[in-house]
């Protein structure tokens, strides 16, 4: 069995880690540095099958692996094929990290469901998070272990030598040497050190040691046994959680002698002289020293250098500094391992999604939904609405039933318009304000009976609106029942001068008048028919059970096949509604849009009893207006939405919506304009052309067509 290392075949014994196999072949994985085989140092990092920063001592060798040495920073991959990573969430009373002696003892002592992990078995715990939740990288994938309690029994790491020559090959910790010898690897003539030497000597490979007293020993390998330091990063990371640390991981750990010369942090190549340099210039806190030198910020996250840094600082301060913050992760995982188990935000599809695709629509996402942006014949979309009849999928609108003795009062206190005087069968357009008097949504109020209402909200605002209505109902303590119907009801807008005809053809003779609604069967499908208009033409919104949407859509299509019926998507709808001057919440309005700024004072009845936002409006209405959303007209094609309004030389506002209006033969726009010298400019430059303020609706100002 073999793998390749930098192209060379390396055979290995079953159970060998990559590091052991390399050492068996006489190769130091990184060329030099004291080998610990405990996952604590950066001296065995290699690339395995293209993945850099793999600890070869923690990775079992497998046949066919492509292992490469990693000298210096590896290159960024150009592309990567993401292999799926399995992930499993498991639950236990107790998780024990580390199955050395202390960990095994802890496991024997407890009852309940216990899970244990050990890096020696390839299970690397990368972090302990609130929960507690223990995240483990295993050969079979990621494990997310949720538990009541964690015992950290991660043992201790062996101290690494800090002195000149510590980057030579042939230096091993005591435990590493034991592992190698039990793997049958001969280290040749060895010197055993229990104290820091002055230096190691050799070219690439150690050939001797000069001891503290200046004496020199010749050797093939050095075994260092300098002391142990608690492997407590996980314990420190979990501070404040239900965590107990046992065994060597819990021991205080004696500080090594202060390092005098040599490399303190092999990951970031920080020398003792670097520490001296920053210390002398005022960097005299653990964190400042770390940040000024980058010591402790490499792969081993202080595994090698932390005890030495503490000792360095202790020698210069009255007390030993505490360790620096233990931040996750303690063992590295790849980005795709981290991402395993994460799901991207879902997109919603309306019940007519397949119909739109069948009709060749280009779909776009809007407010969390897939919606038809355009159908193949863009001109026909617009033309159908203005001259014949058209269908629009408005199933994404927020929809809600509110019922109960407190329903009227709830809506009166929630909406800035009157509700009480709305008759059953009546429809009213309404803004929704927050406590600051800012417009957060708009929609319709349809009264069904004395105590029952059907409300609509914008597509993007629906889920917030549901929360909003429920919160206020509870705050006011009113006796109401609330049911969100957004995802249970589909809605099709039938619009155009021949919309009535279409409805008649489908058997509805008793159509609601403008601003009214009724319940009736359309093509045999129960619909709430709401008569209002966003497009400017006669429009019927048909709200119906989602499982009947396709049937209804097809019936409408069939009934209109001889009158140039064509569906319209969002793009056309934006032009149609702009010709009518209707603003869209979030597109034309801003966070601080009061009804006054939008030119919708009429929609907030300040003479009625208190409603959400009223107090704010009473106050801010006294402050001079500084900006407002108004209509603009200009000749020629529409400038980019977002274009700047220029007055004289100065920018005074920004276009929010702009479309060329085929029916008007000019461009119509909505745009914010700021107060300039105490007045709102009426004529501005947009895109180098003149645009004039114009009252909206631009199209059919009297609304005859919509009332039709």
């Amino acid at each position: 069995m073999s793998f390749t290392f930098d192209g060379r075949d390396i055979s290995f014994a079953p159970g060998d880690s990559i590091a052991v196999a390399l050492l068996r072949a006489g190769i130091h994985p990184t060329g030099g540095g004291c080998i610990c085989l405990g996952g604590d140092c950066p001296h065995c990092l290699v690339r395995v099958d293209g993945v850099a920063y793999v600890r070869s001592c923690q990775t079992t060798a497998a046949a066919g692996m492509v292992v490469e040495s990693q000298a210096g920073d590896p290159p960024l991959p150009e592309s990567t094929v993401q292999a799926p990573v399995e992930v499993r969430t498991v639950f236990a009373d107790l998780v024990i990290v580390g199955q050395g002696e202390a960990g095994r003892r802890a496991a024997a002592d407890v009852s309940g469901e216990v899970l244990s992990f050990d890096a020696g078995r390839g299970e690397e715990v990368i972090g302990i998070y609130a929960g507690p939740m223990v995240i483990v990288r295993t050969p079979a994938g990621m494990v997310h272990a949720r538990c009541q309690r964690v015992i950290v029994a991660t043992g201790a790491a062996e101290e690494q030598p800090i002195c000149p020559g510590s980057d030579l090959a042939g230096i091993f910790t005591q435990r590493a040497a034991e592992k190698l010898s039990s793997a049958g690897i001969d280290l040749g003539r060895t010197v055993q050190l229990t104290q820091h030497p002055q230096r190691f000597v050799g070219e690439g490979h150690v050939t001797g040691v000069i001891l503290e007293d200046g004496s020199r020993l010749e050797c093939d390998s050095v075994i260092v046994d300098l002391g142990l330091h608690p492997r407590d990063a996980l314990a420190r990371m979990g501070e404040g959680l239900e965590i107990e640390t046992v065994g060597e991981a819990a021991m205080p750990g004696e500080l090594p002698p202060p390092p005098l010369t040599g490399t303190v942090c092999p990951c970031s190549k920080v020398e003792v002289s670097d520490l001296d340099s920053v210390w002398d210039r005022g960097f005299q806190e653990m964190e400042l020293v770390k940040r000024a030198t980058l010591a402790g910020t490499g792969t081993c996250q202080g595994g090698v250098c932390l005890p030495h840094l503490r000792s360095y600082l202790a020698a210069r301060q009255s007390q030993a500094p505490s360790a620096f913050t233990a931040r996750p992760v303690t063992r590295q995982l790849t980005m795709s391992e981290a991402a395993a188990g994460f799901d991207l935000a879902p997109f919603r599809r309306t019940s007519l999604h397949q119909e739109h695709l069948r009709l060749g629509a280009i779909m776009d996402r809007f407010g969390g939904w897939w919606r038809p942006w355009r159908y193949p014949d863009v001109d026909a979309e617009y033309r159908a609405v203005r001259t014949a009849a058209s269908l629009g999928d408005v199933g994404t609108l927020g929809k809600m039933l509110v019922a109960g003795p407190g329903a009227v009062e709830l809506l009166e206190r929630l909406y800035p318009c009157r509700v009480e005087d709305l008759k059953p069968g009546g429809v009213r357009y309404a803004l929704l304000l927050d406590e600051r008097g800012y417009v957060i949504d708009d929609g319709l109020i349809c009264r069904l009976s004395d105590t029952r209402f059907f409300l609509t909200f914008t597509s993007g605002g629906a889920s917030f609106a549901e929360m909003w209505v429920r919160d206020w109902a509870e705050t006011f303590g009113l006796d109401v029942r609330i049911l969100d119907r957004t995802m249970s009801l589909g809605a099709i807008n039938v619009t155009g001068p021949r919309a009535k005809e279409l409805m008649n053809r489908l058997g509805v003779s008793d159509l609601p008048g403008y601003l009214a609604h009724t319940q009736a069967d359309v093509a045999g499908i129960p619909c709430r028919i709401i008569r209002l208009s966003f497009t400017g033409e006669v429009s019927f919104e048909l709200h119906h059970p989602v499982d009947r949407s396709v049937e209804l859509w097809r019936a409408l299509e069939a009934a209109g096949s001889d009158i140039d019926l064509y569906p319209h998507g969002l793009d056309a709808l934006f032009t149609l509604r702009l010709e009518k001057g209707h603003f869209i919440v979030g597109m034309d309005s801003e966070y601080d849009s009061t009804p006054r700024r939008l030119g919708l004072e009429w929609a907030a009845r300040l003479d009625k009893a208190d409603f959400v936002g009223k107090q704010a409006l009473l106050r801010t209405n006294l402050i001079p207006l500084n900006k407002r959303l108004v209509g603009w007209e200009m000749d020629g094609p529409a400038p980019v939405e977002g274009s700047i309004l220029i007055h004289g030389d100065a920018p005074v506002g920004q276009v929010t919506s702009s479309r060329f209006s085929p029916v008007l033969g000019k461009t119509v726009m909505l745009g914010w304009v700021r107060l300039e010298d105490d007045r709102f400019p009426e004529e501005v430059q947009v895109d180098g052309r003149v645009a004039r303020h114009a009252a909206h609706p631009f199209y059919d100002p009297s609304g005859e067509r919509a009332r039709g």
Partner: protein
């Protein structure tokens, strides 16, 4: 060593089907009456299943008519949900691989939470099970559980 069961699914990919029922929003007491004392009666009780989404909110499956005592109750036909039916074993495996919560031990039981990033309700009766989500998420549910 912790064993990770395979997440490979049976040969037939899951398919969402529409659910038709009654949605009832009513005062909790009248919903208690409707559903008996159990939050979810087993189907063997000889009548429809009352899936209690909240104290004042339930989806009733398998009944032609629903009557509650609350005079202000909202009782509406509801076809806005879809479900995937599967064996309980399969459902439990999906929960272990796609959810952050453990399946509760009681049966029958209705659990609500996120599964594969979608908000779902899982009904487990000890034998069959069904994963329910709102219709607009149906295809995503199929896609996410099918791979």
């Amino acid at each position: 060593m912790l064993l990770i069961p395979s997440t490979t699914l049976p040969a037939s990919a899951p398919v969402v089907e529409g659910l038709a029922g009654w949605r009832v929003v009513a005062d909790p007491a009248s919903l208690d009456e409707l559903s008996g004392t159990l939050p979810v009666p087993p189907p063997s009780a000889g009548r429809g299943v009352v899936l209690r989404f909240a104290p004042d909110d339930a989806l009733v499956l398998g009944e032609n008519e629903v009557v509650v005592t609350d005079p202000h109750a909202i009782v509406e036909p509801d076809t806005g949900w879809v479900s995937i039916q599967m064996t309980e074993e399969h459902a439990l495996d999906l929960i272990a691989t796609h959810a952050l919560w453990p399946a509760p031990p009681e049966r029958p039981v209705l659990v609500q939470g996120m599964l594969a990033g979608l908000s779902v309700k899982v009904y487990l009766d000890g034998n069959q099970s069904m994963i329910i989500t709102a219709a607009p998420f149906g295809l995503e549910l199929e896609e996410r559980l099918g791979t």
